[in-house]
Amino acid sequence: MLDLYLVKALHSAAGPATLDVRLTIGPGEFVALYGPSGAGKTTLLRLLAGLTRPDAGYLRVGEQTWYDGPQRQWRRPEQRSIGYVFQDYALFPNMTVRQNLTFALTSHRDAAIVAELLALTELEQLAHRYPAQLSGGQQQRVALARALARRPRLLLLDEPLSAVDNPTRLRLQQMLAEAHQRFELTTIMVSHDPAEVYTLAGRVLELDLGRVIRDGQPVPPLTQSNGLELTATVVEVLSDGREVRLVAGATTLVVPVPAGQTYQPGQVVTLTAAAWGIKPPQT
């Protein structure tokens, strides 16, 4: 279904890097893009949607060419059959839930799908509300329903579940899985969450600094299999030795180094819970 080779300069917090990805993705696959921030996950998703223009390469979807660098071919996002769920939802504030969905329709003959999508995402009761009157999880469902209204072949999700609480997330995961089946989608999802990747995806592409460093089956989340200690390999020393990038199974972590210690790439270390650090709880 997808055959691509895409090159794009990245300007991440870790410094300049180049996204350089060669891939084929079959019809009906559910693929997770996984990796640290700045790895190029969202950029790759935007390149697929046509929201960002690649520097070089090609992108073929089915029999269509969406981008071809040497032949100067380019399909604008509105000419691609995609559904895109933005990280901050990007619902239209001037339209109700129902209007957000009907706006997405190609013609009014497709109106039946609006009812079907409202039912799938359990939004019937909220159809007359405006986005500002909805919770984060509800907005997320609207964004998903709206992305599906045109019956796209390709569904692109940019960290769809990052901003919702845990019970909501589980419900949304079920809806995503159901939508993927029912609409025979090829789905590509950016995610930070190993548990979510394991639950939803049939294939994981792990990106780091613009390259695919792993391509395969999702593995069970580490925290379940390994308690609070992990064995990890140092792959890179960052910030003049104050941080190291570690790889543990499918996870890449950037961890601060204890004072007075030095590490070299290739070393195998044991990562304890004390080294992980914790962020303040989300409100």
Binding site: A49, G50, L51, R76, P77, E78, Q79, R80, I82, G83, Y84, F86, D88, A90, L91, F92, P93, N94, F103, A104, T106, Y130, P131, A132, Q133, R146, A147, A149, R150
Partner: protein
Amino acid sequence: MHDYWQTLALTLRLAALTTLILLVIGTALAYWLAYSRSWLKPVTEALVGLPLVLPPTVLGFYLLLAFSPDTGLGRFLIDTLGVRLSFTFTGVLVGSLLYSLPFMVQPLQAGFERLPPALAEAAATLGKSRLTTLWRVLLPNCRPALLSGIVLTFAHTIGEFGVVLMIGGNIAGQTRVASIAIYDAVESQHYAQANAYALVLVALSLILLLILAALTRRRPNRAA
């Protein structure tokens, strides 16, 4: 008395036409300025903003030269297109359009730039053309900017003096707008008549600004 109403009607007609035309031109220009990355953008921004800093008489002076039958542009307009712009209503309208341009373009451009970029991107991924996106998504979501552009342009055109005087002069029913009539009345010491015009202008401007304030007040339920 006939003159009085004629002058007020002319003033409102000029302001309404200027606002209407600038609504179309200004939206297009503001949209381009908000999303363009061309090197022409800063140049255009400077040109659009020029009437804000220039004395209106400067703009009026150059327009008068441009419209005059003694210059190339003036000749072309009169001979080829049959349009006479100096000392006519059309000429005053062209002057007003240029003079009030920043009052429409700047609020709208700021309004577009304040919108999250993902809104336009979302509309594109839903297969919508740029025009549909502008009409259905961008403009409805910068309503306060749109309203301030309309009200400011209208009010500013009513208050315009220097440009009209330079290009239009003081021809009753053609180019004599209220601000000119006030100046004319004071010159000839008809203070009561000047007051009759001035009071209407004060009242009108106040009402317009009150309407703007009422319409752009944040409504908690719909605010994005």
